[in-house]
């Protein structure tokens, strides 16, 4: 039985957490994530979950407690944003290096300074090499769906890695939207029982977690970790196929919107894809061959899928909601350019940095990107490979 709700995005996430009913949650408040832990705390207080909620004194301790609780064989979740994710930094790589299947929701918010509470992707993009699987959500529905799938992905035998699910701060976290939820038992059956490995609480088989590995073993351990995240791609696909059967909602690794015959393509993550889709609809009415790709996965990065989807395109605009200071463009752009390298016939490609610190991205902004692409195709040249969208001079 499908239930419809009209609520803010943080409630969609908290509802997913209630249905997952993790053994342990350790979290610390930060805007715009706070509403998730508040709503969840109420579930705990009202006995709607039997989770042990650790009200840690910092995000560093939140992630540390998550690592401890996961090593003790329990199902563990947390949520954060921006400075909170930054404070967890050190322990993010401990979590992935120790292969702890933790699920974390990161409500995207800009990093300081200047301090800012609104959306951009600088927080999670900064964590892109921390060894976590990263999934981006366009709206509340996707955030709900991704959180449930994340638990299955993280705990799967072949993966055993932490998963970070992103949604856009304020735009989605505080925006009221309609979304559908599954039944509690459907969610519980879908995620199944947590089957811990090498639990610290297994006192008959004592294990040492986190030993010192120097030049003689460290490299092999890291190589195994690299293989695991690489192979997680097929698990992620299988989990979304099974989830689709349950929910009726398809969530491919990259979402393609009017891409079959598209000559001009925008690639963008998260909520901006929603804005861009309406521009595509509009321009398609005018007969323009425009399309849109929204990667759902950022780690592992869907190189092959993107190269395949872009091989017949004339010009591509990649929209990045974060800056990789001193790099040749934003993180998404850099990855996509690399994905295209093997193509015999490469599309022209341009990068736009947009929306930093929550700067609004309008329909007009998106239209201007498609019209830039038209010009690029006409002249056969990209004059400025990286430019800024919606910034004052």
């Amino acid at each position: 039985m499908v239930k419809k709700h009209v609520e803010v995005g943080t409630t969609a996430v908290a509802m997913a957490m209630r249905q997952i009913n993790p053994d342990v949650v350790a979290a610390y408040p930060i805007t715009p994530q706070t509403a998730i832990v508040q709503t969840f705390s109420q579930y705990v207080a009202d006995g709607k979950v039997n989770t042990e909620f650790i009200t840690v004194e910092s995000e560093h301790s939140a992630m540390s407690a998550c690592v401890g609780a996961a090593a003790a064989g329990t199902r563990v979740m947390t949520a954060t944003s921006s400075a909170g994710l930054a404070l967890m930094w050190e322990i993010l790589s401990v979590a992935s290096g120790l292969r702890m299947p933790i699920t974390m929701i990161n409500v995207n918010r800009a990093l300081s300074a200047p301090i800012n509470i609104h959306c951009d992707h600088s927080d999670s993009m900064g964590a892109r090499d921390s060894g976590w699987i990263q999934i981006y959500s366009e709206n509340s529905q996707e955030a709900y769906d991704n959180v449930i799938q994340a638990v299955r992905i993280a705990e799967s035998e072949e993966v055993r890695l932490p998963v970070m699910v992103m949604l856009d701060g304020f735009i989605i976290s505080h925006g009221i939207e309609e979304f559908k939820t599954l039944e509690d038992d459907e969610v519980r059956n879908f995620i199944g029982e947590n089957k811990p490995k090498y639990s610290l609480l297994d006192i008959r088989e004592p294990v040492t977690h986190g030993p010192l590995q120097l030049f003689d073993y460290y490299f092999e351990t890291k190589r195994q970790q690299a293989d695991a995240i690489y192979k997680s791609r097929s698990v992620i696909e299988e989990v979304s196929r099974q989830y689709e059967k349950l929910s009726g909602r398809s969530q491919p690794i990259i979402e393609k919107y009017f891409t079959d015959d598209a000559e001009l393509m925008i690639i963008v993550l998260s909520s901006t894809a929603g804005t861009a889709k309406s521009v595509v609809n509009e321009l398609r009415k005018d007969g323009l061959k425009v399309g849109l790709i929204k990667p759902r996965l950022f780690r592992p990065f869907p190189y092959f899928e993107l190269a395949e989807a872009l091989k017949n395109v004339k010009a591509v605009a990649v929209l990045d909601r974060s800056c990789s200071f001193g790099a040749q463009g934003g993180p998404l752009y850099i990855e996509i350019r690399s994905a295209l390298y093997e193509l015999v016939q490469k599309p022209l490609i341009k990068n736009y940095i947009y929306g930093l610190g929550g700067r609004d991205i309008s329909l007009e902004n998106i239209r201007s990107v498609y019209s830039d692409l038209e010009k690029i195709v006409k002249t056969g040249r990209v004059e400025k490979p990286v430019s800024y969208l919606g910034v004052r001079k």
Binding site: E52, H60, C66, G68, A72, L201, V207, G210, P211, Q213
Partner: protein, 308 residues
């Protein structure tokens, strides 16, 4: 009361053959604490000498479940493990009574891990936190910490021609922990093993968090002959530099009173880290150290309802 006879019969939790320096106090601290309970124990250790020397992959000296995560988070990591235990116990998925203990050096406890420790204690986890205090960052090469005593020469507070070692007094962490109003806080020394094991067993038995601060002499960092470890620990107690006391539910109790106080000068003289204090231009620092020890001792006696 524990007897040595019983102790030697106990199952080993930390194996010999680890790579701590000969004469290192840290493994003695760990063993004495772990003797104090017959329940299964899960241990978490902060980055530092005790951690690196006992878990060099592919070997481990630990015969009990062990986790190391990072330098400043032994308390928060074990708080997660302990919470996981409660979650599973509630669901009937686990039957045994398990104890949880976190170990951190003075760096991992007084300094970088103070916040995580304070948080874990305030939240009331059923865990024991043990600081093995060797009064500096030994693992990284003897740098000063806030536990390093006044006047000690370390690699970041070296005695030079202008500056005579560390200029600041040590932080009284045990006192800070008593302000957390947790069920049990105590200070112990490996020289007084009966006292220490008793404190550790109380710490394991109380319902809620317990904190133990144990002096852990380090022959390398303190610069003394490694066979003197226990003597050095003992004189730290008899000089009142490291008094033995416990605070149980806000009740202060001195657990050992030296028959005769030994002058701090004698203790300092045995350790290379204080050598420069004996130069004529620096001897006033020895007086200063003696003064503050006497002062702290008076205050402690008052808290314990005693008179000198």
């Amino acid at each position: 009361m524990v007897s040595l006879k019983e102790i030697v019969k106990k199952e080993r939790k930390l194996s010999p053959g680890h790579r701590l320096c000969p004469g290192c106090g840290a493994s003695v601290v760990a063993n004495m604490i772990l003797w104090a309970t017959d329940d299964p124990v899960v241990i978490g250790i902060a980055t530092g000498c005790l951690e690196v020397s006992t878990t060099i992959y592919p070997q481990t000296a630990w015969e009990i479940p062990y986790i190391h995560s990072a330098f400043e988070n032994a308390a928060s990591t074990i708080s997660g493990v302990e919470t996981a235990y409660r979650a599973l116990k509630k669901k009937g998925k686990i039957k045994e009574n398990i104890k949880f203990v976190a170990f951190g050096g003075d760096g991992g406890t007084y300094d970088i891990g103070l916040q995580a420790l304070s948080g874990a204690m305030e939240r009331g986890h059923n865990m024991v936190y043990v600081c093995y205090d060797n009064e500096a960052y030994m693992n990284t090469g003897i740098q000063r910490s806030s536990a390093t005593p006044l006047g000690a020469s370390t690699t970041t507070s070296p005695a030079g021609s202008v500056i005579p070692g560390k200029l600041q007094k040590r932080k009284d962490l045990t006192y800070i922990m008593t302000a957390h109003k947790i069920p049990y806080v105590a200070q112990g020394s490996i020289s007084h093993w009966r006292d220490l094991v008793k404190k550790a067993s109380k710490a394991f038995e109380v319902d809620g968090p317990a904190f133990l601060n144990v002096l852990s002499p380090c022959p390398r960092g303190w610069r003394y002959d490694s066979k003197l470890t226990i003597n050095i620990a003992k004189e730290a107690v008899t000089s009142n530099f490291w008094p033995l006391y416990e605070v149980e539910n806000d009740n202060w109790k001195l657990t050992y009173k030296p028959k005769e106080k030994t002058p701090i000068e004698n203790w300092l003289k045995k350790q290379g880290r204080f050598k420069h204090l004996f130069k004529p231009e620096n001897t006033h620092i020895i007086d200063e150290i003696q003064n503050y020890i006497d002062n702290d001792w008076e205050n402690l006696l008052k808290k314990c309802g005693l008179q000198s």
